[in-house]
Amino acid sequence: MSTDTPLKPKFYKTEVKPVWCPGCGHFAVLSAVTKALAYLALPRKDVAMVSGIGCSSRLPAYVSVYGFHGVHGRALAVASGLKAARPELTVLVAGGDGDGFSIGGNHFLHACRRNMDMTYIVMDNEVYGMTKGQASPTTAPDWAESKLTPHGPGVPSFNPAAIALASGASFIARGFTGDPNGLAKLLVAAIEHPGFSFVQGLSPCTTYRPEQKEWKNIVRPFELEPTADPVEAAHRIQADDGMSTGLLYQSRIPVWQPENLVSTQVDQLERGFQV
């Protein structure tokens, strides 16, 4: 028997056993990421994955590429620094809706408009999983299951795709962990996209949001082909209930990559800042 398959997704998995609860959607993101890397046949030494804090942010421990498990909400800041210094690396950034849209919300806006060439995967379970189930910016206002928000958050949830578009992101997609192969295909397109690619992965939290099991009956593919027109994209995103999956928007805009000048010694730098 022979096949011409060069690399198996398993090649990109570490030996570390995930701490995620059995049934967690994040397992499917791990599967999709490794399938995408295998398809792209990226050498492990040329890929870096940066994350913040949360269950989702554990991802770099399980992917066999360079990894940096950073500070809560700061994954994009760390990743931007890395990409600025090492432009030849494929930079993947991972985290949750709490990490990326609460404490890291401001970094998200500016990463979108900066349009550095990296891929940001947000595993959106509409809850803070790691800290036992508090509401996040994507939690519905009437979600009253947590004793920390007894009557629900009471404020509208926000729409990550709309915010990414308004902030200038050049690639916006939504996948679902119930369809890891579809998510893998989106990740391939995201990684290949020159510029900042944002992939929202709907990833049920089996422990704190067991009702999200129902997502498999609600999620469906976007009916329309992706658009490059931001006005049209805005209309589509706002008209959708946030449960349609696929590539929503892709445009070609200049990628920001600072030029790395000849290396500078620390004392030279310090002299530049002397008052």
Binding site: P22, K132, G133, K147, L148, G182, T207, Y208
Partner: protein, 175 residues
Amino acid sequence: MNAKDPQVIDTLAEFMTHAIALENESVERYEELADSMEVHNNPEVAKLFRKLAHFGELHAREIKSHADGMTLPQILPWDFKWSTPEGPESGPMQEVHYMMNRRQAIEYALHNEEAGRDFYAAVAENSPRAEVREMAAEFAAEENEHVDILKSWLLNLVDPESVRPEDLDPPNIPE
């Protein structure tokens, strides 16, 4: 997503690539489940999933031996002709729970084996090629045997735990 309705598989090599992927992915899923049950201190169910992974491994080996000497095509993960989101024997991840008991785990596995059998049975019915239909019918019969074995496990299971045990560290913070 892989298509909802069964699609036609028309060469033996294409069929074997599907069969091997189906078995390999199912083994990986059981290993992953066994690992996570160990991490979450559910050793009974971890052991069961490990055992299922082992049986899957043996079956995968047997299936691969049918493909000896063949050149198999490379099929991308999203191009497989499944009518399930993943390989039919890779059960839906969201259907497991860290406190599931052995009965629930066997029921989960039973569902997977039935889905595998149904996949092979559909190929045995739909493929335009006799050699593919024949091989698929053989595999469907094997899967049916696995279904029967799991049903007998269920019948013989002495399970004091038909309800979930109390979680001493429940997920929601007490008032």
